[in-house]
Amino acid sequence: MRQRIQTRPPQIWTVVLLLGLGLLIFALAFFASPAQAAHSYQEDQPSNDFCLACHQEEGIDKKLGSESLPVTINPTQFGFSVHAEEGINCVDCHTDISDYPHPDVKVKNTRDFTLTFLETCKDCHEEQYSKAHDSVHQIAFDAGNKNAAVCMDCHNPHTQKRLTGKTSGELTSSARVEIPETCAQCHSGIYDQYKTSVHGNALTEENNTDVPTCIDCHGVHNIQDPTTVTFRNSTPFLCATCHTDATIMDKYGISTNVLNSYVADFHGTTVKLFEEQFPGQPTNKPVCTDCHGVHNIAKVNNEQTGVALKENLLIKCQRCHPDATANFSAAWMSHYEPSPEHYPIVYYVNLFYKFFIPAVLGGMIFFIITDIYRRIVNRMKGAKHA
């Protein structure tokens, strides 16, 4: 049978479709913002649609050694991503690819494949990239831990939605709600504790964004090691950023005097001085988290662990004061300002000295003034002081 060497002349609808598609691509390139247009408008670059034509197929993967790397890109999900929104092309990041077949992938596992893109984000996100380079994750990575988080672990470039308000530049509420889930990918044990805490519960159950997410305490990108002495010594001031802010605390009837009352106490005075003078030196005096917990911070009136309950507080005291007995915990004034209702003895001692000191010193000064007066008068009279 003779092989058919000449194709049929193209039917009219095919011509129309191709022309339409061409026009659409041209229009997209034209209307995209100038910066992106300049970046992506290269004649020999394949379009995203070109890539997706193959990569939208479900269940496709690439064998890397014994592992398989899923290479399906869901066009809908990608369409919602900030990169699609900003008109970023696949090949802007996948710079080694310009056509099919793709160049051979040399790495032997999926993690190594991810790590080939380590420098990629830097081109557009220089600030975040360099901040992340000062992070505890980078330190772990440099020490040889390949699992330490890199950009793509928290921000899947194919699905990452816009995190900040377009005009405000502030993190959006929905983004805040998602943060702990992001960190949970690697820190699931901590996430499980956080979810049950007064903060985490409000965030995950009520979408309440007044509460801190991971990044509010740990920072973002330049996340520091939270187990250092410096971090511990600065804890009270970290908590105080929200807990002295009346606009947040008044909603929940929480005192904003917690830092002042802590610093007024023996423990807080010490920690504050350490924080100011020797931030890197350890102190055995407690910070907020030693009594209230870290990721599992509970309401103070929580029956199991709440420190407003004497027996719960005593357990906390005994961590550092093993010999403490029942009365001991009341030596800490529980963030109260002494008043006739709370800690009346302290209140009346203060009140006593408030009047006693000026009374005694005033009496002394009065006597001294009369003595000086008499000396001057006597000297003027030429008489001698008795």
Binding site: N147, A331, M333, V346, Y353
Partner: protein
Amino acid sequence: MNRVTQTYLRFPIARRIEHWVMMLSFTTLGLTGIPQKFSASNISISVIQALGGIEVLRTIHHTAAIVMMLGSVWHLLVMGYSTFVLRDKMSMLPTFQDAKDGIQALLYNIGFVKTYPQMGRYTFEEKMEYWAFVWGTAVMSITGFLMWNPITSTKYLPGEFVPAAKAAHGGEAVLAVLAIIIWHMYGVHIKRFNKAMFTGKQTEAEMLHEHPLELADIKAGIADRRPDATTIRKRQMIYYPVAAILTVAMLGGIYGFINSEQTALTTITPLTETQIFDPQTPQP
């Protein structure tokens, strides 16, 4: 010998050393204590920094407190000897006459009476300061004990006593430091630089001026009538063993003050709450 060259021994060397001990420990306590009370002030922060940090400062404060407690024990022993063995007049005890002297001095100063009161070995001003010091030392020791040994204290007392002790300790400290600066400075340094506590001596003119009744007693030969040697020896035989027991008891008290408890662990174990790296999907 005239009134300027004729001198009388006011404070024997032992008393002068005692004064130095109390003065140095008091000053140290004040310098290391006031910055703790006003720890937010920049001056305090500088002082604390200069002395090597709050923990060093507290150690110095505690050491000075021990010195002052030892000084107080010594003072009690000396007073016991003076009272029991020598049967000296208890010239420091406040009397009704002191109140009258004080009022008379004030009235004289403001011109209501013509003469200044004539006083004995200790004037009402000196007695006031002495007893203020005794009161202050007692308050500071008790409140200091409560803070130094909060665990022992709260075995017997409500927990609230500890912050109350801190409040009283701070209030009393301010009072004591300012009283020394105002009353003591004026009384013995500004009004007239009274060197008796350093040289031990006062001239006859000074005695006539400040302690005329004591001078009269000295001149009359009735000031320091010492018992005869045998009586002294007999009393010493009683006093020394009693004093030895008291000394041991008081030193034991100080030892207990310092060592009755280990208040806190010096290092706290970090909160090992959970595994840090704990991925949701186990890594291959």
